[in-house]
């Protein structure tokens, strides 16, 4: 096993590089990202547009291959998996919450929530029954049979969260989950994500522009121009046991390379 996999079953990136295009048109989206994300904490990926947030989350979710570097997610050496294995990895281990909700418009809320179970081989009826329980858990018991178009933005995002969590994934990735909804609903959504996603065996990563949700994160990683520019722990939620960043470093910018060097 690669040494990197000896680390805890969270997310570990070493010198992660991602380039798009070639020659003079080449774009360096990630220029050597080094981070460790532990289970049991809610990590926010923030930064200006074009800094590489979406690219990084895409790579962590096994939907995109890095150009080079080492990457371990939940103990899996993702870059060396086949396309088929990556799909299976995502189906079993990853829950997605998208900015635009990405619900299937022809399916009811319950059916949408049931989709990950169906992808994992479950039959429709038991999957929908379980989906209705999940919808009840996110406060939408009475909207199980509504189509997405009949739901408000906040309700659709709650359906999306239920869908992301129904198969109990060990990695939750959220792409701007509050950007398409109002502030109050956004707060509700973040509380829901914290409640459902932050578990000891679960890694949760949220990409966001929305500074109002920073308070919900345990840790905030700032990307700039394809590298980690800042890595800090939110004071209210700081923990010491698993922290990659030492408590003394809370709120102080930390060099990712220094973090890695310190651990090894």
């Amino acid at each position: 096993m690669n040494a990197i996999n000896l680390l805890r079953q969270g997310v570990t990136c070493r010198n992660l590089i991602k380039d798009y295009g070639s020659g003079s048109a080449m774009v360096h989206a990630l220029r050597g990202v080094n981070i460790d994300i532990n289970p049991g904490e809610l990590t926010l990926l923030v930064g200006p547009s074009g800094c590489g947030k979406t690219t990084l989350i895409s790579i962590l979710a096994a939907t995109l291959d890095p150009t080079s570097g080492e990457l371990s997610v939940l103990g899996m050496d993702l870059p060396h998996l086949t396309k088929f294995q990556k799909a299976a990895f995502r189906a079993r281990n990853v829950g997605f919450v998208f900015q635009q909700f990405n619900l299937l418009p022809a399916l009811t809320a319950a059916e949408n929530v049931a989709v990950p179970l169906v992808i994992n081989g479950s039959a429709k009826c038991p999957a929908v029954a379980r989906a209705m329980e999940m919808l009840a858990a996110v406060g939408l018991a009475d909207r199980c049979h509504s189509l997405p178009a009949q739901l408000s933005g906040g309700q659709q995002q709650r359906v999306a969260i239920a869908r992301a969590m129904i198969h109990e994934p060990r990695l939750l990735v959220c792409d701007e989950p509050t950007s398409s909804i109002d502030a109050k609903t956004g707060q509700t959504i973040m509380e829901l994500i914290r409640k459902e996603a932050v578990k000891p065996d679960r890694v949760a990563v949220i990409v966001t522009h929305d500074a109002r949700v920073y308070d919900f994160g345990d840790r905030i990683i700032t990307l700039e121009d394809g590298v980690v520019a800042n890595d800090r722990r939110a004071p209210a939620r700081a923990t010491s046991s698993n922290a990659i960043v030492e408590p003394s470093a809370v709120l102080a910018p930390v060099s990712p390379l220094a973090i890695v060097a310190g651990r090894s």
């Binding site: 979710a61 939907t63 799909a87 990853v94 990405n102 299937l104 022809a106 990950p116 992808i119 994992n120």
Partner: protein, 379 residues
């Protein structure tokens, strides 16, 4: 997974109906044009089909189709009767005649002379008069379309008189015949009478009609006749196919209709392919979401194929149904319309529609397969 594919397909009703319409339209065009082609081809054999009672047609070895009139010797009928397995054999005259109508006009026609004694081969659907009346002097039977051609606007009745070869011929009956390939009236009379209605020739008989004895294979008896007396002997089906083959090979009908059918196929491909492709492209975000959530390419392909097959099945049903209704109603309104829908046309249309649907889905599949799951994060 199937239910997700079907719900995606039917979720947007307007797109769903557009795809169904495209496949239905293609299917209708292919079926309708093919059926008209078959109808035209079938008309080349209408007189073979309308000559009831005979199993085998015996003719000159060089005859190539029913209108290729090459006389055989008058004693051929006696020699055929001597072949094992033949129950009876009778003369059938068929030739081109010319009639002078009471208004002075001339009309070309097809003249059929059947056995004087038995009247075997006579038409069966009489509209006016009786077949037995053919035994009367100068008697002829005229087909309905021919009657209306010679006496337009007049009610069907007996007693009409024409002249053929300076001889008087009296209409004693009007029958319903299959539409012919040519537009000429088809006149039935007795064999002996027929020889008087056309200018004399040394040999006049082109066909001998044969009925097989019970327990004998029609094909075997035909081959035996050919072997024993050296004439061409064709079963009813063989003679029909031989006639159709001649028209297929020596006329522009297949090329002209083939062009139309191919055009219908291409239009169908374009309409169905474009609508299905656009449907998939507009659903790329949904497929991308499914791929991101872990659905592998094989299952995505299966979903698209299921959608294509469902569209093909529904479009086929509607298309064939519409073509059938068109055939039924159009033939009532336009009796001259040739429309024949054998099972082979239905099978060919099914294959064509399946091909159209699979082709259009393949274009869509390619688009979905190259879609990176990460694209779903980029809106």
């Amino acid at each position: 997974m199937t239910w997700i594919a079907l719900r995606m397909l039917t979720g947007d009703r307007s797109k769903y109906y557009a795809i169904i319409f495209g496949v239905t339209f293609a299917c209708f065009l292919i079926t309708e044009q093919s059926a008209i082609f078959c109808g035209v081809m079938q008309r080349t054999t209408s007189q073979i089909q309308d000559t009831h009672g005979a199993d085998i047609w015996v003719m000159n070895p060089n005859a190539r189709y029913i209108d290729d009139l090459k006389a055989i010797s008058d004693d051929a009928v006696f020699r055929v009767r001597g072949v094992t397995g033949v129950s009876w054999a009778l003369n059938l005259y068929r030739g081109q005649g010319q009639a002078q109508l009471s208004n002075g006009n001339y009309q070309g026609l097809i003249l059929l002379g059947i056995d004087d004694a038995t009247l075997v081969g006579a038409p069966t659907q009489m509209l006016v008069g009786k077949i037995g009346d053919l035994q009367r002097p100068d008697a002829i039977l005229v087909d309905e379309a021919g009657y209306r051609q010679m006496w337009p606007g007049e009610p069907l009745r007996t007693g009409k008189v024409i002249e053929m070869n300076d001889r008087r011929a009296v209409v004693v009956g009007v029958y319903r015949a299959s539409q012919t390939f040519m537009t000429q009236p088809v006149i039935y009379t007795r064999f002996s009478q027929a020889t008087l209605f056309i200018p004399p020739a040394r040999r006049m008989m082109p066909f001998v009609l044969v009925k097989c004895a019970p327990g004998n294979s029609t094909v075997e008896v035909a081959r035996r006749i050919e072997a024993d007396i050296g004439l061409k002997a064709q079963t009813r089906d063989e003679f029909s196919w031989m006639t159709m083959s001649y028209y297929l090979q020596h006329t522009g009908i297949p090329v002209n209709f083939g062009t139309t059918v191919i055009l219908a196929f291409l239009v169908g491909c374009a309409v169905a392919g474009q609508t299905f492709y656009l449907f998939t492209v507009e659903n790329l975000k949904q497929f991308g979401t499914l791929k991101a959530m872990g659905m592998n390419d094989q299952r995505v392909v299966a979903m698209i194929l299921i959608q294509a097959l469902v569209v093909a099945a529904i479009g086929y049903g509607f298309g064939v149904g519409l073509a059938t209704l068109y055939g039924m109603f159009a033939q009532r309104a336009m009796p001259l319309l040739a429309f024949f829908l054998p099972w082979q046309v239905l099978a060919i249309t099914a294959v064509a529609v399946l091909f159209i649907s699979l082709l259009s889905s393949l274009l869509s599949i390619r688009r979905v397969l190259v879609l990176e799951p990460a694209a779903v994060f980029q809106g």
